[in-house]
Symmetry: C2
Subunit: 111 residues, 2 copies
Amino acid sequence: MPTPLGTQGTQLAHHVFFWLENPGSVADRDALIEGIRALAAIPTVRALHVGVPAQVEPRPVVDSSYSVSELLFFDTLDDQNTYQSHPLHQAFIARFSPLWTRVVVYDSSGR
Amino acid sequence: MPTPLGTQGTQLAHHVFFWLENPGSVADRDALIEGIRALAAIPTVRALHVGVPAQVEPRPVVDSSYSVSELLFFDTLDDQNTYQSHPLHQAFIARFSPLWTRVVVYDSSGR
């Protein structure tokens, strides 16, 4: 059996999916990916995964329309609040939000 | 800097969000959570996180309407295919799909 992620049952997973204004622009996509990676420098970020849609077989339940996914783990909700207001995160939003048209966030408390 | 999840840059994150037929039923929710946890026994599953919507401040981009989140990591796309067709996963779908009305899946290849 694999170990559940994190050491606390309540660990917070912050899933974010981005749809780009120019989904065909590899340059925009890669710039956003680099920008997300840099968010790892915020001290309360425990782990991160940045991705693009996998080449899976199309199924009705699979949404492959987004351009970039961001997944961050925090120990607590307070740690995510620290992240949200951190200058690096604010600078990320200011710099990269012109590239995207839609963002969907799912914040999950581990059970 | 936290270590990126996994040891391979291409690690696959399988994000699944479930909306229940009876979102107010704690029994249904907890049964689904236990069912997801049992999926960790499938050998290609490298890590898992099961969650419920966190008590974050409402923001337009945050979707808190789902009931349960499932996050699995695989080393490769083939490993996810093995999982999809595994008897434990098929039994999970047969047993729990009557509980949900909507499922959204995002499969992300790590970058």
